[in-house]
Symmetry: C2
Subunit: 417 residues, 2 copies
């Protein structure tokens, strides 16, 4: 039974509660309204629903959707019961939302606030995924979770070239909402925030438009705001060996509740687009180490051609610069370590202090050990990456994402029990 | 000949300049790269291109696209020639961009910055429209345009309940970019900004996700962030009589260069979603004057049923409250005046001062006389609209949008000559 059938609700084939015509004074009946919104046409079976339940959380290996709303929350209640109650409610809401259903009645009792805020009525499920994570700060004394803190979960240390805004960094909890429709992703976060009222406050929230990475061969490689294809040499979810070696937490963990989970690192990276746009093509390609249009390595032709980091030109110089981004980020330069990148392009309008576009890459990556993977790579990049002339890391966060759920389970169940 | 054929460029069937493989050191040729990006497959004829040239500017009567980037610019050069030169360049760039083409070579000469920033390569035209407007401040002494200022073009006066942020209001020029892909709209504004460097600076920029209105019967009515259908009783572009009576400037104008143009008013309206979401259904429906789910009037059933503002219930009270939004905004309450609404839902994340979502409606409307239409209606709404408890107007702007162009003409040609 889908959650739509269970709840008697579906955003597509729309049913409303008996009292749903509240306020109608002349000639209106619930069934008239029912017809008026076309609920008599049977809803087509949805092809854009990503299953919510499963061994792993969706939103990691899932082919990258087009839009992102990433929200970080701080817990304001000091009662563990409140947090547990909220996580249970969040889970049941998330199951409905990802199925394309409202979290409750949009037009229920006239004297009560609607259970769902309504702006996604009539919109498709849009491949919505909701991915939860627990930040290092959640494991302090407040909720008695000290002993449950994974050994590999720490705030990301200060890294070279960091210029972090604390107000946009960190958090006790996160929910990553990805969907092919921005309004669907926004609606999900808004309704979770509403359910969490009194227990959590939003700490920060980042919108992303345009996936800037790919996690599967079935998608063509999108471009980031530097105009380059991004994600060519990413871990692909078609490579279960890489996913197990680098992304999904396995037996090595000290915390059983994290087995099958992963750790997410987010970095708000501003791209100084005005400077970048003045840089000449040759230099842009040297900075990245790839060709701008085709995406192939400077040592090859086609996008998927293997990079030859040792290749030299006729003058005997390395073709891929010693400090080119793809050289420093490559597994070969990082003890073989890889990460699953799943970032989004963003713009938040204009930076009023500088009059420049506040735009860039909301970098998201998943891995089993942030210190060995993201932090090690970024320590190298932050120090000497040619890209540093054109980017600025302005916010940072890390969260432990538990494994997926079976129906009836709730987010954090194994952590809290 | 399309502009793609003229320029030898097309984002879909991708050609690069002879020097385009700049930086390729090993085994790469321009034609190899050419094949690598699939230019050998003929580009399918685009079905998602809105014609740029025509009697009127696109982006007004055009069916509302899904995403918005609205940018306001101030002129920083005091030379009229600079402004004219920029407007000519903008026009030719806009013609290319709306056709789905880059503004120039993405990979041209290796020693030059790319002419196009590249992030829209491979993306569809996405029904991009670019609509230009000239603000009241452009007609001051700087450019000798005083005598060309239309009599109806003034800054919007202070209105009841306004709480305006000047940094996000006004501007010498605007460009409204609407598209079905946010990255396509962003790419357009970014490249115009780049072309305008030294002549204009960006004053503010607003992103919108999710059209919150409709301008044609061929679209279903979308929902705003209050969860209500928005645009039901809008002027529809299928009604040429209404378009001529209320939107397109006609013989009445004192400025010939504005004949066939229109005036755009933008208002950044925050919705206090947290308060709204706590309001009961019955009150929400009373505030708007319509049913939440179906969108029908409180005096009817179906969405398109005509509102009966005089209808009373059994207790003899008006069914649509004296201060309901649709009563105060209706032509019947405003000397028959109408406006073409074409707004977008927005969220800019969290307001750090309050911890609440900074979300709402980026209200955009088109009309032939802002004072008689938008200002008159908003003066009434700002004073007593029940909606005021849940919204806040935080930014405002008005611009004169000239008529459309024939090929070879440029934005503002009749204004500057
Ligand atoms: C605005 C910031 C960044 C931009 C514009 C950017 C852009 C790119 C581009 C264009 C590529 C080549 C295509 C590909 O293989 O995906 C790439 C590769 C890569 N990037 Fe980044 N990147 C950024 C930040 C980062 C950060 C912060 C990290 C990790 C700390 C990172 C890790 C990687 C890795 C691991 C690769 C693949 C290298 C290889 O094995 O070939 N990038 N990036
Ligand atoms: C956040 C702010 C606003 C919200 C949420 C909102 C919402 C709505 C809704 C739900 C409707 C009914 C459906 C429809 O006919 O489109 C409506 C109608 C209308 N609104 Fe607004 N509105 C807002 C601001 C404004 C403003 C600022 C104006 C103009 C000054 C305006 C002018 C109108 C007009 C003219 C109608 C049609 C009334 C009729 O003839 O039935 N609205 N609005």
């Amino acid at each position: 039974m889908t959650s739509a059938e269970r709840s008697g609700f579906s955003r597509r084939g729309l049913l409303i509660g008996a009292a749903g015509a509240g306020g109608v004074a002349v000639g209106a009946t619930a069934s008239g309204l029912f017809n008026a919104v076309n609920a008599d046409e049977p809803a087509p079976p949805p092809t854009d629903v990503v299953p919510f339940f499963g061994a792993q959380q969706a939103g990691v290996a899932t082919p990258v959707q087009d839009r992102l709303v990433f929200a970080s929350f701080d817990v304001v209640s000091d009662r563990r019961e409140d947090l547990v109650a909220m996580l249970k409610e969040w889970t049941s809401a998330a199951a409905k939302l990802t199925a394309g259903d409202p979290v409750g009645e949009v037009a229920g009792h006239p004297m009560a606030p609607p259970e769902d805020t309504g702006e996604a009525l009539g919109l498709p499920a849009a491949n919505l995924t909701l991915t939860v994570g627990f930040g290092p700060s959640l494991f302090d004394q407040r909720f008695g979770l000290e002993a449950k803190k994974p050994a590999v979960l720490h705030e990301i240390p200060a890294l070279p070239a960091d210029e972090l805004d604390l107000g946009r960094s960190h958090g006790d909890l996160c929910v990553q909402a990805c969907a092919d429709d921005a309004q669907v992703a926004f609606h999900a976060i808004r309704n979770l925030l509403r359910i969490g009222r009194g227990t959590v406050v939003m700490r920060w929230c980042q919108l992303g438009f345009g996936r800037s990475s790919t996690t599967t061969r079935s998608q063509s490689t999108p471009r980031n705001l530097m105009g380059f294809k991004d994600g060519t040499n990413n871990i692909l979810s078609e490579s279960p060996a890489d996913m197990d070696a680098f992304v999904w937490v396995g037996d090595e963990t000290d915390q059983q509740w994290m087995r099958g989970g992963t750790y997410v690192v987010s970095r708000r990276i501003r791209i100084l687009v005005e400077s970048w746009d003045r840089d000449r093509l040759e230099d842009q390609e040297a900075v990245i180490g790839r060709q701008k249009v085709g995406g192939g390595p400077l040592t090859g032709v086609r996008e998927r051609d293997v990079v030859d980091l040792a290749a030299k030109n006729k003058q005997g110089e390395l073709v891929v610069d010693t400090n080119a981004h793809i050289r420093l980020a490559a597994p070969a330069s990082n003890d073989g370590q890889k990460i699953l990148r799943r970032g989004f392009n963003f713009t938040d309008g204009m930076d009023p202090r500088t009059g420049q576009l506040d735009a860039g890459l909301f970098f998201i990556c998943f891995q089993k050990d942030p210190a060995k993977q993201f932090v090690a790579i970024q320590r190298r990049l932050g120090a000497t990456d040619l890209l540093n002339e054109y980017i600025k890391h302005v916010a940072s966060a890390v969260f432990a994402c538990p494994p997926g759920l079976r129906e009836g389970q709730w987010w954090g169940q194994d952590l809290f029990s």
